[in-house]
Symmetry: D2
Subunit: 129 residues, 4 copies
Amino acid sequence: MKHLGARLTELKPGMAELRAGFREELTQQHGYFHAGVSGSLADVACGYAAYTLMPEDSSVLTVEYKINLMAPAAGEELIARARVVRSGKTLKICTADVFARKGETETHCATVLATIMCLAGKSDGMRLT
Amino acid sequence: MKHLGARLTELKPGMAELRAGFREELTQQHGYFHAGVSGSLADVACGYAAYTLMPEDSSVLTVEYKINLMAPAAGEELIARARVVRSGKTLKICTADVFARKGETETHCATVLATIMCLAGKSDGMRLT
Amino acid sequence: MKHLGARLTELKPGMAELRAGFREELTQQHGYFHAGVSGSLADVACGYAAYTLMPEDSSVLTVEYKINLMAPAAGEELIARARVVRSGKTLKICTADVFARKGETETHCATVLATIMCLAGKSDGMRLT
Amino acid sequence: MKHLGARLTELKPGMAELRAGFREELTQQHGYFHAGVSGSLADVACGYAAYTLMPEDSSVLTVEYKINLMAPAAGEELIARARVVRSGKTLKICTADVFARKGETETHCATVLATIMCLAGKSDGMRLT
C-alpha cells in the first residue's frame, strides 16, 4: 500500500475502492502506470473487499488472480474497485475493475478475477493497517 | 524494471530469466516480497521470452496473465523464469515460475500463465532497454 | 451447441445469453451439471457476444478463459450470460456468468473471464449456425 | 468421465493422465474436439492428480481453472497430463497439458492452471469411480 502510494477510499460489506496517485516510479517508459501496478492495486482491493466478510480474527491470503489488461493506464490516478461475487467460508471469489482517471474521465484499463482465502484465527492485524 | 531493481540474467530463444534483489520497498509487513512484485517480475519475464521469437521491429503487449501464489516470497532475491509454450504469429502463450532464493535454496513461490501479443511494426525500442 | 443441447435465447450488440436444459449425460454423480458444461456454455456465450461486434466475414476463436466455480450447478436449466467488456480490433475481452435455474430461482454458479480473437476474413459461416 | 468417454491411463503421486477417444458428439464443425472437451478433460485430470495427495476420506472440488487454447484439437485421441505443482493442505495447485494424438504425433493443444480444493472428511467415493 505504502509503496504504491495507495489509499482506501471506500469500504463497505463486500466492496472496496483503492486509489493510487501518479508517481514516476510506478510508470513505464510512456508515462503509463505499469501493468504490475494495476495488478497489485486490484489484488489489494480484492483482499480488502473479501476481508469485510471475514471474522475479525482472520487474515487474508491471495490464492490466485487473473488480470486482463485492456487499455493503457494513463492518467493522474489509478482506481481499483473490487467486490465479492461469492463469499464462501474459506474462499471469497472477487472481481475488480481498474480505471485510470484523467480529470473527470475514467478509462477502464483492466479487469481482475481473484480467489482470496480466509485464514481464520490467524489475524496479524497488519494487512489492513 | 528499474523500479523493481530487476536485471535480465538469461535470454535465449523462447526463454528469459529475471532477478530482483531484496529491497525494503518491495516487501510487505513480514519481509516477504509483495505478491504484486512476483506478478510484475513474471509478466516482464514472459514479455522478454516472447520478444525473442518476434520480428525485430515489433513491440510486446501483455494481454492477460493468471498467477497462482503458492508460498511466501521470502529471501534475498526473487527469480522469474519464463518460457514460450506456444508461439503463434500474433499471440505467444508463456509460462513463468517465480522462485525466492535464500542462500542456495530456491522456493517455488508462484506460477504464471500469460498471453502476450506481438504488435508488428510498432517497435519503440524501449521495452527491452 | 447441439451436444450441450444449448439454445441462443438473447443476442444484442456485445451481449449473448445461452440456455441448456437438464440432460442426464451433462451431469455428474450428484445430478449437478458438470463443471465442464458450465465452462463450455460460458465459452460459447462469450464467442457469440464477441461476434456481435465483429465484421461479418470474421470467425471467432477462444484464446483463453478462466472460470471460477462458485456453487453446484443444480437445476432444470443452465444459463450463461456473456458481455464484452473491451472490444479491441483483434481481441474482445468478455465476462460471463453462469446460473442454474430451479423453478423461479437462479443460483450464480460460475463466473468466467475470457479473451476472444477475431479472425477477419475467415468466416466459415458455421460457428453461429 | 463416462460422457467424455475418458479413461484413466496413468496415476501416480501428484500425477495423472486421462485419454478420450474421438467421438462425433465431442467435436465441432471441423472435426476438432470442442474446446470444452479439452477443458473438462484437463480439469478432471487435475482433480485426479490432486486426489493422489489427499487423505483417503476427502473429496475434490475444482475452485477455478484457466485454459489457454493453443492449437486445434484434431486427432484420434485427446490426452490430458496433469501434475500438482504445489500441494497445500487445503489447496492443490495443478497444471495440465492437453495433447491431440494423430497416429504417433502429439500436438500440444491446450495448457491449464488450476486450483483444486480438498474437502476433508467428505468422501463420497464417487468422483474417482
